[in-house]
Symmetry: C2
Subunit: 405 residues, 2 copies
């Protein structure tokens, strides 16, 4: 008998009316046959409101207590959803992460799932019940409540699907699936009917916000097909699966825009071996993720080294960069927050050539200057001036014919 895991995000259960609608969809799924496990997030902005409450009490609340606090959001959701399903005459039972045995490490607010004890879920499924599990939360081996951090509920859903050997994990969200580009920027953007895990990972890290990378990595590792679809409409959504041969026929699957980064430059760095390595090791030691790196050899044996970091890490990074700059005898540290990263992604890049040239050509045709470039096997990213970001996405989308089915 088929087993399906469905996950509904906070906007899907923001109020009683939406919860009732979600309940209808779940009961309809159940009545088509098979077993159904549902993972649900906290109602609407509950988590933010709880965090705000904590900050009214303490400037730096202990992370263990933060987890005790914010895990209540999903607990409210599972109870209400179970009640809504009962009202439709179906059988359902709710569980918190700790109850269901989602065991994590003890890294509060960003815990990693270690194992899932599926006995209780299987028992209730056998009885014919719909099992509803609180997303985002677990318990460490000392029975402390933990939460999984950003994208945690998606991760709960995928991990449960893996542990239960589910046939599919459906992620219900407020968009209809994965698009060739953000439809708010490119009105002709097209929903993709399928995409590979690797493409999804690159799109996510390049700025697409549909699925969190941790969930996709987990799904890839255990080969769990994910269907991303809207909880507000009936569309089939986008299937995220392992790579199939036919996927290579399409060179570029999507184009993304990311304006969450800033560029940091160390100017006039004495050009000695190991200098770049030292800079990046020091920054990495402070838990700042550096992404694109570029080094220009200048005159008089001095070079400029630039890299990008998330804007939220900029202040910290600048402090580190200034310290390094002094010890190395560099001339100065610059930064630029007005940058945009444009990326194209597609497994077809492996077998097709000349993709980068076509991308650069598209940008050149609109006189958009490329400040930095980085490439991976299935992705090419360019940093441009932020004010050209949306224009760049549109010209590339057209150039590669992404709007055509």
């Amino acid at each position: 008998m088929a087993l399906i895991v469905q996950k509904y995000g906070g906007s899907s259960v923001a109020d009683p009316e939406r919860i009732k609608k979600v309940a209808k969809r779940i009961v309809a799924t159940k009545r088509r046959g098979g077993k159904v496990v549902v993972v649900v997030s906290a109602l609407g902005d509950t988590t933010d409101r709880l965090i705000e409450l904590a900050h009214q009490i303490a400037s730096e609340p202990a992370e263990r207590e933060m987890d005790v606090l914010i895990s209540t959001g999903e607990q409210v959701s599972v109870a209400l959803l179970a009640m809504a399903i009962h009202s439709l005459g179906a059988r359902a039972i709710s569980f918190t992460g700790p109850q269901v045995g989602i065991v994590t490490d003890s890294s509060h607010t960003k815990a990693r799932i270690l194992r899932i004890n599926t006995n209780r879920i299987r028992e209730e499924l056998r009885k014919g019940k719909i099992v509803i599990v609180a997303g985002f939360q677990g318990v460490d081996i000392n029975e402390n409540i933990t939460t999984l951090g950003r994208g945690g509920s998606d991760l709960t859903a995928v991990a449960l699907a893996a542990a239960l050997k589910a046939n599919c994990c459906e992620i219900y969200t407020d968009v209809a699936g994965v698009y060739t580009a953000d439809p708010r920027i490119v009105p002709r953007a097209r929903k993709l009917s399928n995409i590979s895990y690797d493409e999804m990972l690159e799109l996510a890290s390049a700025g697409a916000k549909v699925l969190h990378n941790r969930s996709v990595e987990f799904a890839k590792r255990f080969d769990i097909p994910i269907r991303v679809r809207s909880s507000f409409s009936r569309g089939e959504g986008t299937m995220v699966t392992k790579e199939h041969k036919f996927m290579e026929d399409v060179v570029v699957r999507g184009v993304t825009l990311n304006t969450d980064e800033a560029k940091v430059s160390l100017r006039g760095v004495p050009d000695k071996p190991g200098v770049a390595a030292k800079i990046f090791k020091t920054v990495a030691d402070e838990n700042v993720n550096i992404d694109m790196i570029i080094q220009n050899i200048g005159k008089k044996g001095k070079s400029d080294i630039s890299f990008t970091v998330m804007k939220r890490d900029l202040k910290r990074t600048l402090a580190i960069a200034k310290k390094i700059s002094e010890t190395m005898g560099a001339e100065r540290v610059d930064f630029d927050e007005n940058i945009a990263r444009i990326s194209i992604v597609g497994v077809g890049m492996r077998t097709h050539s000349g993709i980068a040239a076509r991308m650069f050509g598209a940008l050149a045709s609109k006189k958009i200057n490329i400040e930095m470039i980085s490439t991976s096997e299935i992705k090419i990213s360019c940093i441009v001036d932020k004010k050209y970001g949306q224009k760049a996405v549109r010209v590339i989308h057209t150039k590669f014919g992404l709007g055509k089915g």
Copy 2:
């Protein structure tokens, strides 16, 4: 080393400012030496809001899911209180009922505590931490979340005090202690510095709403002294303890008014042996608690039988009474919601005589008619017309000199 359990009600932690104040009080207690365990209720009207939310989803929410839902209220409180204590530089750790091993039966929304596993609490106390436990909740042997019903957080506190062999259980509330009468009715009412468990039980069942009977019964069984005091002021409150010889010197400890009851009368009941017993057995079988009972033998071998029930049970009781009335050939069923019960309580009644006569005399002096009377070893109750209720309390309070220290 002394161990104290403190319990703070919902009004004491209604908002961040009050939570910080409560934290200060807890830390001050801790710094005076000894071990401190704190039990806390949900913030302000949180529980009511969660129940309201459930009723927007389902007209009759399943009780198991109701417990999952409403137990989140106390979980929020313990986390926030721990954060507030940390901010004051003290060490604290929060636990939910399930985490701390408060094992109950499976009667959702009104579970009974079966046992408490104190290992984790003792371990954290040994480390010097203040231990904060969510009131009102537990877990059954199948790891389902349960709640304890009305007065549940008080019960958690007393049960923890018993399990931990605490020296005292302090119940912080919005009144300064137990009074000789409700100060809103009798401005000269005086706070009692001590009272026996039995007196407290009789006062509570007679209408005083300071402590719930279940907690007092529990405290009596395990001989845990309870101190009732205000979280908004510094007073010593009232000690509730086992009976001491000196308590008998005072004949009457308090006078209460209860307007939550209604009177039901079966008129013209054929006067045969066993008739009253049959009526009360039938009503009791429907889980309605009957209290005062009075039977008047009338003319022609017929009698009138009256009893009181809680107003919330009135509708159900009338339906039962009408059915019985028909099968017995009684003339009719009447009811009266405009009644008030006035009670006086004191262990001194056991050794003093003439108390009832003095109470009746006080009522007669104000021309207040007594409709029903019931007595126990340490309590006398009279039913009067509701409109004379407050006047009756005042005249009795004066008659027994309760305002004098």
